[in-house]
């Protein structure tokens, strides 16, 4: 089975533009708004959304970076020894309206871990979830507020998001399990 490209570079660009504008529609004055990206590709996505908002509103939204490794509930089950990346939130989260950003929404367990970690940093007024791809198969009652594209998948498939910053190319593909390149 071959990798199937489901979003091209241009389609990703348009999706990000649209997502940024959806945030602006809902939060036109940007007051107390903050972005938090989940390592690694959620951070790339968050930075791009930040850039689009800057273009439109000429304002830099605070951007935090979250590594959820220490909050995972599946370390025992998957036996990973993951490379831990940095968590960096240098603004006060209290009473902020946070948009939590990740590339792919799948079981929802990453988001659960991210929510727990954010709560340990402060008490935001609200948290909304933005993802580029929602591939279904949720195991927890979590739903996104902003979605770039819904893609029905089977559990035998993997969704691979590539960004220029991390992978040299903008592309989203569905690939058969066991052939993931990273």
């Amino acid at each position: 089975m071959q990798a199937k490209i489901i979003l091209s570079s241009e389609e990703i660009r348009k999706a990000i533009q649209r997502l940024a504008h959806q945030i602006l529609e809902r939060e036109p004055n940007l007051k107390d708004l903050a972005l938090i990206g989940i390592q690694t590709r959620g951070v790339c996505l968050a930075k791009r959304i930040q850039a689009v908002i800057k273009e439109v509103k000429n304002e830099d939204l605070p951007l935090g970076v979250l590594d959820i490794t220490f909050y995972r509930d599946d370390l025992t089950a998957i036996g990973l020894s993951p490379v831990v990346k940095e968590t960096h939130i240098d603004f006060d989260l209290n009473d902020k309206r946070v948009v939590l950003i990740d590339d792919v929404l799948f079981t929802g367990r990453t988001i659960r871990a991210a929510l727990d970690e954010i709560m340990d940093f402060g008490r935001p007024k609200s948290i909304e979830l933005l993802v580029l791809i929602d591939r279904g198969h949720r195991q927890l009652p979590i739903r996104p507020d902003f979605v770039g594209k819904n893609i029905p998948t089977s559990l035998e498939e993997l969704v691979e998001v590539k960004f220029e910053e991390t992978d040299g190319v903008d592309e989203v593909a569905i690939i058969p399990k066991g052939e993931k390149t990273d």
Partner: protein, 314 residues
């Protein structure tokens, strides 16, 4: 890379990559310790047992704080003054602790190889918190971490380890770790406190303190261990301070930004003067802070190794 070791027993057997991996993980944990809530759930539901056959404050508390910041439960067992002996009894104690469903045993023992022996007989993760004159890997890791944090890298740094090398497990772990990461290590002590054949590690040996201080980027000053056996054949403390004690006057001949480390507890006025211990070059309290991050990393990584093994078996 992936961490594969169920135990951390020494630095001698680690690869440079493994040491770097611990340091990188420790850097992430250091960030955790700067948060308002300094605790993450990574080891929630795990039990850590500190099994100390020798007195220790700093190391035990450091492991305890590290384990608690990972959300583990901690039990401290101090066998000081009890009739517990080496050999089979150590294994028996270990097996009993394991039967209580402890996940990680942190052991300090006066016999070299004690931690390795426990590790051989137990499924629990074993971390060596000092075994005889052999090694004290987490101390060296926190020394290296501190140095790396201050200088960006270890490669090419000149590090002098000064003091009772012969009776120091801290020295041995430091020598292995620093040399593996590319530091140039010089050992400095009175001749009777230099162990035989130590040059085989790649370290340079001298009895001249000025030579050890000259050009050094960092010095790691060891504690004089008066409480240990076999330390009698050794100059009096006042005599030692005169010849090998680190004073401000002596440091004037060294690099201006020389980093002064000490594993603690300090004998002020014996290994170094108070002015140096509390001075601008001293990294001694930073070492203590970094020790928590390094031990969090080690506790976390050894449990991940066990998981991987379990995972592969089905």
């Amino acid at each position: 890379m992936r961490w594969k070791r169920k135990d951390l027993l020494d630095l001698e057997s680690l690869s440079p990559e493994e040491i770097e991996y611990i340091l990188t993980t420790a850097a992430s944990f250091k960030e955790v310790t700067t948060r308002q809530i300094k605790k993450v759930p990574a080891l929630r539901g795990k039990t850590v047992v500190n099994l100390f056959y020798e007195p220790s404050t700093r190391t035990r508390i450091s492991f305890e704080v590290a384990a608690k910041r990972l959300s583990a439960d901690v039990i401290n067992i101090s066998t000081e003054g009890s009739s517990v002996k080496k050999g089979e009894t150590l294994i028996d104690t270990g097996k009993n602790i394991e039967a209580l469903k402890a996940d990680i045993i942190v052991v300090r023992h006066s016999a070299s190889g004690a931690a390795a022996m426990l590790a051989q007989h137990l499924k629990a993760n074993v971390i060596n918190a000092g075994d005889g004159w052999h090694e004290h890997p987490t101390q060296a890791l926190l020394d290296i971490f501190t140095l790396k944090e201050k200088r960006g890298k270890i490669q090419g740094l000149k590090v002098s380890i000064i003091g009772d090398i012969a009776h120091s497990r801290v020295a041995r772990s430091n020598i292995w770790g620093m040399i593996k990461l590319g530091a140039k290590v010089t050992l400095c002590a009175p001749p009777m406190l230099i162990p035989p054949a130590i040059e085989q590690t790649g370290a340079k040996v001298t009895s001249d303190l000025d030579e050890a201080l000259k050009d050094a980027d960092a010095i790691n000053v060891l504690r004089m261990q008066f409480e240990r056996d076999g330390v009698e054949a050794f100059p009096k403390s006042s005599e030692y301070f005169k010849t090998y004690g680190i004073t401000e006057e002596r440091l004037q001949k060294a690099k201006k930004d020389i980093i002064v480390m000490h594993p603690g507890p300090i004998n002020r006025g014996i290994e170094m003067s108070s002015e140096v211990a509390d001075g601008a070059n001293s990294a001694i309290l930073e070492q203590v802070t970094n020790g928590i991050a390094v031990r969090m990393a080690v506790l976390f990584l050894v449990t991940q190794a066990k998981n991987e093994k379990k995972h592969n078996s089905h």
